[in-house]
C-alpha cells in the first residue's frame, strides 16, 4: 500500500488546535529571557516530584522571583 494511502486526514478542528499550539510555542520563544527563566523554574517545580519519585536528585533553582 502506498504511504499516502495510509495517511489519515486530520479533522479541521484538530488542525486548528495544532496551529494554535504552534503559535503558542512561537509566542513563548519570543518572551524576554528573564521571563523564560521564570518559566523554566515553574517547569522545574512541576517536574521535580516526578523525578524524585524515580530517585533522581534534582534542585529547583532558588532565584529571586
Amino acid at each position: 500500500m502506498a504511504k499516502m494511502d495510509r495517511m489519515i486526514q486530520i479533522p479541521e478542528q484538530i488542525a486548528r488546535l495544532f496551529e494554535a499550539k504552534e503559535a503558542r510555542r512561537h509566542q513563548l520563544a519570543a518572551l524576554p529571557y528573564p521571563e523564560k527563566v521564570k518559566a523554566v523554574v515553574r517547569l522545574q517545580e512541576m517536574a521535580a516530584p516526578v523525578f524524585r519519585r524515580r530517585g533522581r536528585v534534582v534542585h529547583v533553582w532558588k532565584i529571586a522571583k
Partner: protein, 165 residues
Amino acid sequence: MKQTLQVLNQLEAEGVLGRYAIGGAMGATFFVEPLLTYDLDIFVLLPETASGLLSLEPLYTALRQRGYVEEAEFIHIEGVPVQFLPAYNALLEEALEQAVDVPYEEVTTRVLRAEHLFAICLQTGRSKDRDRVRLLADEAPLDHDYLQAILKKHHLLEQWQKWTV
C-alpha cells in the same frame, strides 16, 4: 539567576575564567521556548596554568573560597546548580569566541549563538540534542549561511544530512 551571573562576571573580571558563555538547555532557551533543565551549563575558556595544562581546579578553588558548595558534577552558585564545561575542541572555542553579550535584568551576560548551539548538538549527538536541533530549526532566528559555514568548517554536514533523512 542574576546573582549567579554576577558571580560569573566577577570571576571573568578577575581572570579566574578566560571567557564564559551560557550553553546547553539554558543557552537554547534564549532562542526557543523555555526548556526543562535543572542545571546551568557554562562553557569556559580557561587561562593556562603554569604547567601549560587546562584545569577547572583554580575555578573551583575560587568558588569554594566564596562559600559555594559542590555536589556531583555541579557547584551551587546563588541557588543555581552550575556545571562548568571547558572548551575542549575547535568548535567550542569558536563558539565561545563568537558568543554574544545579552542583558539579563541589570546584568550583562553572554550566550552562545544559536548556530553554534545547533552545531554543538549535532556534534554531541544524543537523542536530546536531536530534539534541541529540531527546536532551534523551528523557532530560532538562524542565519542559515552562517550555520552552513560552521557545519562545513567543523565537518558536521554529513551528520546533519543523516539527521534530516
